[in-house]
């Protein structure tokens, strides 16, 4: 197991050292929060809380999603192309550990990204929450980043090194716009509201919105995220098998 820990630390270190990755993962949500905070009155009431708090939750889940998708997708596709994934297969690392470690590394990065956006909310947006609520919000948003971590890895396995980046970018914006992370879902047309109800991004943020509004997180939201995480996890396993079987054919 020391091998796995070593490899995870290595993956996280490489992510943190990449200025473009850190810039996108932290910069996007923080900049969007600052830019759109005044689209509405920050203290305006929405879904049982204030806009500044609601939008902070949106951007924190957006940030976690961006961090998770980018950590897996683009880099994994490049490493498949370069032959590094094959080299790892001829080490004592168990073969399942590559995808698992990628997902774990995405999750490790998602946590500080959520924290930075929360800090921005606290300092720039003047968001005030109880300590328990901050903690609950962080835990809920972090856990619900799991489907995106798996999705990123899946894209990395399916896409080529040329297509991975546009695919990740498209997913990032589609999931966030249609999931109601930029425009509250209640402001969307009815059709799009239906679309949102199918997207993990919507249910991810919904859990957080419930926490800051003092409601219990919806079991339905959690259930849908769990289904997404399971299906995407299975898809990753399947793609990984396909990849292994064709490695030398």
């Amino acid at each position: 197991m020391t091998g796995l820990r070593t490899f995870l630390r290595f993956e996280v270190m490489r992510l943190l050292r990449n200025p473009r990755y850190v810039g996108i993962s932290v910069g996007f949500p923080v900049i969007f929060y600052t830019l759109f905070l005044h689209n509405e009155h920050p203290a305006a009431h929405i879904a049982g809380t204030t806009w500044k708090t609601y939008f902070m939750v949106s951007m924190a889940s957006f940030g976690a999603m961006v961090a998770a998708l980018n950590a897996g997708g683009t880099r994994l596709a490049a490493e498949r192309a370069s032959g590094w994934t094959r080299q790892l297969r001829v080490t004592p690392l168990p073969s399942w550990s590559y995808a698992t470690t990628k997902i774990a590394a995405s999750m490790v990065i998602a946590l500080p990204v959520i924290a930075v956006v929360e800090l921005t909310g606290l300092l720039l947006g003047g968001v005030r929450l109880g300590l328990a609520t901050w903690a609950a919000l962080t835990v809920v948003l972090w856990a619900s980043a799991l489907p995106f971590a798996s999705l990123g890895v899946l894209v990395g396995f399916v896409a080529s090194s040329e297509t991975a980046y546009p695919v990740v970018t498209a997913l990032m914006f589609l999931l966030s716009f249609f999931g109601g992370l930029f425009t509250p879902v209640s402001d969307l047309p009815v059709v799009l509201r239906h679309v949102a109800s199918f997207l993990p991004s919507y249910h991810d943020a919904s859990l957080g919105w419930a926490v800051v509004a003092g409601r219990a997180p919806g079991l339905g939201d959690a259930g849908i995220l769990l289904v997404y995480a399971t299906l995407l996890g299975l898809a990753v396993t399947w793609r990984h098998r396909v990849e292994e079987s064709r490695a030398f054919a």
Partner: protein, 390 residues
């Protein structure tokens, strides 16, 4: 075909020099000197590896006299294509074995099965007395695979960090500074992997293959992106590594390397072994002989018609004939009345043997060189070259 033998004689000599230059005692000695400073800096890592060594469990049933690897009756198909056709092969411990064969001969499939990347559909494979996957998981096997266009290395990391990380995946790794020195990477330890040249990246991949202190190493085309000097030093370090009693199996297209480095050669064709033995044995098994003489102004077309001649080549006043029956060729030459002097008959070289055994011209890289030279060389200072092959 004939032209090429001259072109590969040149790279062969540096390899031979490397071989004599790195005696079993000499190489490790110099290495110790150069790594002493590094060792002191990373004493922590060294201590850990010593402790791990002590904790390692010796497996007497695996470390006995058995072969390093064994294939028996292995069959592997990709749909209708037979990649391995009842392959039987055994490699002893401490042996350096070259695996030769044209593309599609089954080399890569054999190697991927040995590494546990694929399971054989029929037959049995054992590696270090166990199955390939267990051998790999135990960390006693290292490998340097072929990479397509890429470097085979992850980006965003320094060479030293990458080798260190990989070493920690093994139960009893070699000290990292020693591995870096061995692969000629000490000066590149702080270099980012994306800033390496092709040959440097290949040395890093070699370091990754040996940092686990493996008993058995596979190298698939290890010198493919290296220049002559890079290849020379690569095989020098490979030899000092194999002289510690490790088993090395490599595949290559550079036949000069095979001649200089391998204890034994296995030639594969269509999924089976077609020749197996020392380079000299394999050369002797091929009937081709080379007849060489001086005959200014001789007509190559006429010489090609002589009995037994397989190929003819003219270089200035020198004529080189490849013959399947040297006695008949010489008799016919005398009878033809062509004036000649300084006649010499020699055995086949490894390239001729390879071509004869596999019927594969395209894969003897030196043949490619010869063709390329012929295409561009008609207006060069070289004398016109003619080549025929039946």
């Amino acid at each position: 075909m004939l032209v090429s033998s001259a072109s590969w004689a040149a790279p062969a000599s540096p390899v031979a020099v490397a071989r004599t230059g790195s005696g079993p005692a000499g190489a490790p000695g110099t290495e110790d000197l150069s790594t002493r400073r590094l060792n002191r800096e990373s004493r922590g890592a060294d201590t850990t590896s010593i402790m791990r060594l002590r904790g390692a469990c010796p497996c007497p049933e695996n470390d006995g006299a058995g072969p390093a690897l064994r294939f028996s009756g292995v069959v592997h198909r990709y749909r209708s294509i037979v990649a391995l056709d009842h392959l039987d092969l055994e490699v002893s411990r401490g042996e350096t074995l070259a695996l030769l064969g044209p593309n599609g001969a089954g080399k890569s499939t054999a190697i991927s099965i040995l590494l546990g990347l694929q399971r054989p559909q029929e037959g049995e494979v054992s590696v270090l007395g166990t199955d390939p996957r267990s051998a790999m998981a135990s960390g006693r096997v290292g490998a340097m695979l072929q990479v397509g266009g890429g470097s085979g290395l992850p980006h965003g990391v320094r060479v030293g960090e990458l080798v260190t990380m990989t070493s920690r995946l093994y139960r009893r790794p070699s000290p990292v500074p020693r591995t870096l020195a061995r692969a000629g990477l000490t000066d590149l330890a702080d270099r980012q992997t994306q800033r390496l040249s092709g040959g440097q990246a290949q040395r890093v991949r070699f370091a990754l293959a040996i940092v686990g202190d493996p008993d058995l190493v596979f190298l698939d085309e290890p010198t493919i992106a290296m220049d002559v000097e890079g290849r020379r030093s690569f095989w020098a370090m490979m030899r000092s590594f194999s002289q510690e009693g490790r088993t090395v199996v490599f595949a290559t297209h550079h036949l000069d390397e095979v001649d200089a480095v391998a204890d034994r050669i296995v030639v594969m064709r269509r999924g089976t072994v077609v020749a197996n033995g020392a380079a000299s044995t394999i050369k002797a098994a091929v009937p081709t002989r080379r007849v060489r003489f001086a005959s200014p102004g001789a007509d190559p077309a006429r010489l090609r018609e002589l009995d037994g001649v397989d190929a003819a080549c003219v270089r200035g006043s020198e004529i080189v004939l490849d013959s399947l029956d040297a006695d008949a060729t010489v008799r016919a030459l005398v009878a033809s009345g062509v004036a000649f002097s300084d006649i010499e008959v020699t055995g086949a070289d490894l390239e001729q043997a390879f071509v004869a055994l596999t019927g594969d011209l395209a894969n003897a890289h030196t043949v490619d060189d010869a063709v390329a030279r012929r295409r561009s060389g008609t207006d060069s200072a070289l004398a016109p070259v003619t080549e025929t092959a039946r």
